[in-house]
Structure formats: structure tokens, C-alpha cells
């Protein structure tokens, strides 16, 4: 027993120049975690919050009670959406480096979270994403040109030049606006879900944030409201180990899993291998059914790894080992699903190379079209007059006057 109080400063297991060390990561063998009934009581399924639901084993087979038994064609679609996300991210990253867009955020290594979850949900379910969920847009089919025009803040930007790149939204696709202020979407998703229940509709709400953002009050607000009202909502903590330079221990992950906060609030909590497409799909399906039948909300912790920088504005080599991602014990979600499909005899390296080339061409063609609507430097420009619109539904006299003043300044 220590004889005096002490201040503990969480330390990541390795910093630049050190050997990556993931010995802190607690995992379970594939297939080992039981799958409870969707109506199970929270108090009876506490183990889900500390074990790790995995379906794909080391031999690339799908095993155990969480195996979702998807058709090979669905798995191929999932692989394609993940690959499209990655190809899109890579090209947009390069585009930023060439100075054609101001900012970008990749989701390298986390593609299974958005893609598997979007596929496990219904089209009517409302999604409240964070800024690293571009896979949702791939699954729901937003044209790539639309996303690119947002990144370019050009004349066809859905946000009319008002938001940083990647802060998309899509009413028709039921994807809520990305804020930029972290975790704010969490209580909003719960409110949306409460409204669905009040109206007697069976659509559910789903929201995402990173483990770093789970420190925000909004996370706790959302958890409390979801549990108190048993709102039909799935709350996802994407534990990618890093909040810019701050490792997950600073968000409270050192002492207890993030999923364990679920039972702490009185709701189901599940810890899942976030790089295992099948496991993510299966737990999402379970949680969605639970929510839809009025059995309550679920907190899902996706154990994954942020393979790239936080954004185009930071260099991870300054705060973690260069080869950290390569040594991540849960591997790469695209590789793992690919190898599973190959093991099933439903895919091949050749087909993979061909698909990658096809998607690359698709992204390149979309970019060619997007820039015709304007870029930072050239082409058609948004009308600055539009900046005064949508502050209120009707433009008040004060803004009409300020718009006049701006016009006068410009002539």
C-alpha cells in the first residue's frame, strides 16, 4: 500500500524510437464470447463489456456464435465499400498535399466500423457520425463528386463553403451533419431516438465518436439519457487508441474498457474487434434489433487503430513509433476480410488488384468532374452573398444591410 497520495500520469506503451508494445491489449479468441439473446438483461451480460467479440480467426475462418452468416456477395460488397473508402482517402490525402484542398482526415484502419455498421442497419436509421465515418457515405451511396465538392468548398458544395472539409451531411441519406465540436452529436442522436419512440416509429439512431471524445460531457449526457429513457439508439466509441497525440489512457481506457461504461449507466456494453468486419456487423445487428424491440440502447466499443495521422495537420512520427500500425495485433480490416473471402473461394488476389484499379479510376473520374465546379484557385466560385443566408430561416433586416455593405466593399 502506498503511504501517501500520488498523481498518476498515464503513459503510452511506446513512443517514437521505441518498439511498439501492445501487451496492454486484452483480447479473446475468435468465437469465444457467447452471443446472448437480444432481450437479455444488462446485469446478465456484463462480460460482453470486457471480453472481445471476434468472428474471424487466425486461419481467416468465421467461427463462433456471432458469425453473421452473410452471403459471399454481401461480403464482397463490404470489401468493395471498405476499399473504396481507402482509395478515396488516399487520393484526397494526396490532393491536400498538392494544395488543392485545405484539410483532410483519413480513416485508414477503421474502415470496417463504418462500412459493416451501415450495412447492418436499415436505410431509415438515422446516423450521427463523427469525422472519420466516411464509409457510411460509401455504403449509403452518396456520389463521390458530392463529397469532393464539399472538400473543395466549390459551387456545388453541400455546405455552401461554410464548413471545413469532411464535415458532410446528407438529409436524403439520413446522415446528420458533422459538427467539428466533438461529441455534440451523441445527445442529439439520443434525442432523435427518443422522438422516434415518442412517434411510435421503429427507426433507430446511431452515433459515433472517438475514445478521446468520450471524455466530453456530451458523451456522459447521452449515455444517461439513453439509459434513463431506454432510447432506441446505438452509441459507438471507436477506440482507435489515439486522440491526436494523446493515447487512450488519458480518456480513461487504462483502468477499464470503454464498453464497461455501458453497464455502469445501466445499458448493454459490447467490446468488439473493430477490424473484424463480421464481428462488427454481428454486434451491430444484435444492438439494432435490441433497440428496435424496445429492449434498450447499446454502447459498442470498437477496438481498432488509427492507421494514419489524426488529420493532414499532424505528424504521428512525433508521438508514436513509426511501425506502430504494422504491429497492431488486430491487423488490417481490408486484408482480413479479403483473406476470409479468399479462404471461402469467393475472391482472389487478382480480383482484388483489379477492383482496386477500378475504384481508383472511379475516384479519379469523380475528381475530374468535381473540379469543373470550382477549386480553391480556379473555376467558378461560390457567391459571397450566400454567406448571409441560412443564419435564420428568413434573412433579418440587419443581415440584409450587412450584405449591402459587403457588396459595396467588393466594388
Amino acid at each position: 500500500m502506498p503511504r501517501r497520495s500520488r498523481l498518476h500520469t498515464p503513459k503510452p506503451h511506446s513512443r517514437p524510437g521505441e518498439k511498439p508494445d501492445f501487451s496492454y491489449l486484452e483480447t479473446s479468441p475468435a468465437g469465444a464470447v457467447p452471443r446472448p439473446d437480444v432481450n437479455a438483461r444488462v446485469r446478465d451480460i456484463g462480460n460482453l463489456a470486457t471480453e472481445l467479440v471476434r468472428v474471424l480467426d487466425d486461419e481467416h475462418r468465421a467461427v463462433g456464435p456471432w458469425h453473421p452468416h452473410l452471403d459471399a456477395s454481401d461480403l464482397q460488397i463490404g470489401l468493395k465499400h471498405m476499399l473504396l473508402t481507402r482509395v478515396f482517402d488516399d487520393r484526397m490525402q494526396r490532393t491536400q498535399r498538392q494544395g488543392k484542398i485545405t484539410f483532410y482526415m483519413r480513416s485508414l484502419g477503421e474502415e470496417a466500423v463504418s462500412v459493416a455498421q451501415a450495412m447492418a442497419l436499415r436505410p431509415g436509421d438515422m446516423l450521427f457520425p463523427s469525422y472519420r465515418n466516411q464509409g457510411l457515405y460509401m455504403v449509403r451511396g452518396r456520389p463521390l463528386v458530392d463529397l469532393m465538392c464539399q472538400l473543395l468548398s466549390n459551387t456545388r458544395d453541400m455546405c455552401k463553403g461554410r464548413q471545413l472539409p469532411v464535415m458532410y451531411h446528407w438529409t436524403a441519406g439520413r446522415i446528420f451533419s458533422i459538427s467539428g465540436n466533438l461529441a455534440t452529436q451523441f445527445p442529439q442522436a439520443v434525442g432523435w431516438a427518443m422522438a422516434a419512440a415518442i412517434k411510435g416509429e421503429d427507426d433507430i439512431a446511431v452515433s459515433w465518436l472517438g475514445e478521446g471524445s468520450s471524455a466530453e460531457a456530451d458523451f456522459h449526457h447521452a449515455m444517461l439519457f439513453a439509459a434513463v429513457y431506454q432510447a432506441p439508439v446505438i452509441l459507438n466509441v471507436v477506440n482507435n487508441q489515439w486522440a491526436i497525440s494523446t493515447f487512450q489512457g488519458f480518456a480513461g481506457g487504462e483502468q477499464r474498457s470503454f464498453a464497461a461504461r455501458g453497464p455502469g449507466y445501466g445499458m448493454a456494453g459490447i467490446r468488439v474487434d473493430g477490424n473484424d468486419f463480421l464481428a462488427v456487423y454481428a454486434v451491430t445487428q444484435w444492438a439494432a434489433e435490441r433497440a428496435r424491440r424496445g429492449a434498450g440502447p447499446t454502447l459498442i466499443e470498437h477496438v481498432t487503430y488509427r492507421g494514419a495521422a489524426h488529420s493532414t495537420s499532424d505528424d504521428p512520427a512525433r508521438y508514436r513509433p513509426k511501425d506502430d500500425y504494422e504491429k497492431w495485433p488486430l491487423g488490417d480490416p481490408v486484408e482480413r476480410l479479403k483473406k476470409h473471402l479468399i479462404a471461402l473461394g469467393e475472391w482472389s488476389e487478382e480480383r482484388h488488384v483489379a477492383l482496386t484499379a477500378e475504384l481508383d479510376a472511379q475516384v479519379a473520374a469523380a475528381w475530374k468532374e468535381a473540379v469543373t465546379h470550382g477549386t480553391l484557385g480556379e473555376g467558378p466560385k461560390l457567391d459571397p452573398d450566400s454567406m448571409f443566408e441560412d443564419v435564420f430561416k428568413e434573412m433579418p433586416a440587419r443581415l440584409v444591410r450587412q450584405r449591402e455593405q459587403m457588396r459595396a466593399e467588393r466594388t
Binding site: P187, V190, G191, W192, I198
Partner: protein, 333 residues
């Protein structure tokens, strides 16, 4: 005024099934000031929700409900408690329409009792309205009487933009002229205490000229309307008294027309002076009225200290402080 506000919600909940009420103690108990009394009994637990004590969550959830087709009326039990909700109000509610180019919006009304004069100390007496007027995208309203309270609240609930609706709690039960030693007056004897039973609106963005006059223009709102009236009467001045009612949008044209007519102006509010809403009023008035002003504009406000429990009436901008400002503008040449 409590019954008027209650009636506004009651009428809107009957007319529009998407209107829901949520907040701390608003359901079973009917609110600490009884403003939501009886609504849960009438409309059920799914439309009048008691909530946990988490203002940020109340507003955050209300935004989600608004996005999903409901028209939430959230109560923040005291304006002093609204700060934990400010990120959701400032960064989310106020800007949702803007950041999505009009695709997403949430028609949320946030009701909250404000102001002093009730021995509430520094955590139950604040008037933080100016903070909200500095945020683009929310309307800010404060009625001073039952008639306006009902009409403005109905207008706020029907408004597709978010509205922060301040209720000056010292005048919940009757007008208050700033003298705590006088017997309380009820609304039943006041013309603005007469409230029609049915539906009506008072438009957001229009001032009320409480009293027409020619000597001086007094621009004020909330409880201070009655303090200013009494102070002007005490001095025998023919004052034009303007109740601002809506700070955003602001009916500045009516205000400046009045000041251009009288040539003198006193601005009065309970909130602290420095960067208070009076500063915006004063700046806007001098921009439009400078050549007609016979005297510098005077501001009457709370002192720039927290609201002290033991010195309620030394703090509160009562008749004496208003009268001193009126004398100053009347004497200046």
C-alpha cells in the same frame, strides 16, 4: 404570467401534436414555478418529460428531437443554470441551419426564468440575455407581462428558428416597480394582465411602446419596464417608454425614431452594465440619432459584480438609479 405561459404551451400542444415539453421537474410536479402545471396529466409522459439534471443533455436531446420532426419546448429551471447547455446552444442549435445550408434545422424553444428581486443570490438572479444576443442564429426574447408572454411564447414555439425565451421571474405574479417595501400587486389589476383564453401571437421582433411621451425615450425590457415607469412618473416626466421584448431580431427602427423625436435616451436593464445589451442599444442609437441627441445616452444596469444575496436592493437597479439617469439626460444641454 405563469398561467399565460402555461396556456401558451397548452394551446400549442393541442394544436400541434409534435410539440413536446421537457426539463427538470416539469412533468409530474409541473415545474418549480408551476409554469408547466397540469400539462403532463393532460398530454402524458411522452409529451411532457421529466429529465435528469443535465442542461446540456436537455438541449442536446431537444435538438435531436427537433431534427426528427418534433417541436420541443425545453425548460432550463433557472437562467443561471443554462451555461452547461451553452455549447449545444451556441455551436449546435444556433448554427445547424447555417452549417448544413438549410438542410437540417431544429425548431427548439428554450424557456428560462431570469432576473433578480427574489432573494435568489448569485445563482438564481442572473440576466444573461446579452450573451445569447452575441450568437448568430438564435432569437432572444423577454416578455414583461402576461399578454406578451403568451403571444410571444406561441410565436416562439411556431418559429422554425431556435428561440431563447427569458421569463423575468420577479414579474411572474405581478408588476414590480422596484420598491420591495410596497405590497405586492397582482396582474389582475393591470391591463396587460388580461389574457385571451385562445390562440394569438405577438410577433417576435417588434417593440412595444408602453407609453408614448415627448421628454425622453426610455428603452428597457423585463422587470425594468415597471421600475422605469415609476421613476419617470416620480419625476413628472412625459417619458416615452419602449419595451424591447425581442433583442434578436431587434426593432431598432422604432427605437431610433423615438429617440430622434425626444432627443434624449435612457437605457435600463437588470443585467450587468459592461458589455450588457445596453451597450448594443446605445451604439446603435447613437449611430442613427447622434445629431438629434440633446444629451449623452445614459445606461442604468446592475453593477458589474455577481448578484449578492445580502445586498439585493443595493444591487438591483431601482427607481433611484433610473431617476438619477433621467435627471442627467434632462439636465444636459
Amino acid at each position: 404570467m405563469i398561467q399565460a405561459l402555461n396556456s401558451a404551451m397548452d394551446i400549442m400542444m393541442t394544436r400541434d401534436p409534435t410539440v413536446v415539453v421537457l426539463g427538470e421537474d416539469v412533468g409530474y410536479f409541473g415545474g418549480v414555478f408551476r409554469v408547466t402545471d397540469g400539462l403532463q396529466r393532460k398530454y402524458g409522459e411522452h409529451r411532457v418529460l421529466d429529465t435528469p439534471i443535465a442542461e446540456g443533455a436537455i438541449v442536446g436531446a431537444a435538438i435531436g428531437m427537433g431534427v426528427n420532426g418534433l417541436r420541443p419546448v425545453a425548460e432550463i429551471q433557472f437562467a443561471d443554470y443554462i451555461y452547461p447547455a451553452c455549447d449545444q446552444i451556441f455551436s449546435e442549435l444556433a448554427r445547424l441551419r447555417y452549417r448544413t445550408a438549410g438542410e437540417f434545422w431544429a425548431p427548439v424553444t428554450i424557456r428560462t426564468p431570469c432576473g433578480g428581486g427574489i432573494r435568489g443570490g448569485q445563482t438564481h438572479s442572473q440576466s444573461p440575455e446579452a450573451i445569447f444576443t452575441h450568437v448568430c442564429g438564435i432569437k432572444v426574447v423577454m416578455p414583461s407581462n402576461p399578454y406578451d408572454a403568451k403571444g410571444l411564447l406561441i410565436a416562439a414555439i411556431e418559429d422554425d428558428d431556435p428561440v431563447v425565451f427569458f421569463e423575468p421571474k420577479r414579474v411572474y405574479n405581478g408588476p414590480f416597480d422596484g420598491n420591495p417595501n410596497k405590497a405586492a400587486v397582482s396582474w389582475s389589476e393591470h391591463p396587460k394582465g388580461e389574457v385571451p383564453d385562445g390562440y394569438y401571437t405577438v410577433p417576435i421582433g417588434k417593440v412595444d411602446i408602453v407609453r408614448a411621451g415627448s421628454d425622453v425615450t426610455i428603452v428597457t425590457y423585463g422587470t425594468m419596464v415597471y421600475v422605469c415607469q415609476a421613476a419617470a412618473e416620480g419625476l413628472g416626466l412625459d417619458a416615452e417608454i419602449i419595451d424591447v421584448r425581442s433583442m434578436v431580431p431587434l426593432d431598432i427602427d422604432t427605437i431610433t425614431a423615438s429617440v430622434n423625436k425626444t432627443g434624449r435616451c435612457v437605457i435600463a436593464h437588470e443585467a450587468t452594465l459592461f458589455s450588457g445589451f445596453g451597450a448594443e442599444l446605445s451604439a446603435s442609437i447613437q449611430e442613427e440619432c447622434f445629431w438629434k441627441l440633446e444629451a449623452p445616452i445614459q445606461r442604468v444596469a446592475g453593477w458589474d459584480t455577481p448578484y449578492p444575496h445580502a445586498f439585493e436592493w443595493e444591487y438591483f437597479p431601482g427607481q433611484a438609479r433610473v431617476a438619477a439617469a433621467l435627471k442627467t439626460v434632462m439636465e444636459s444641454r
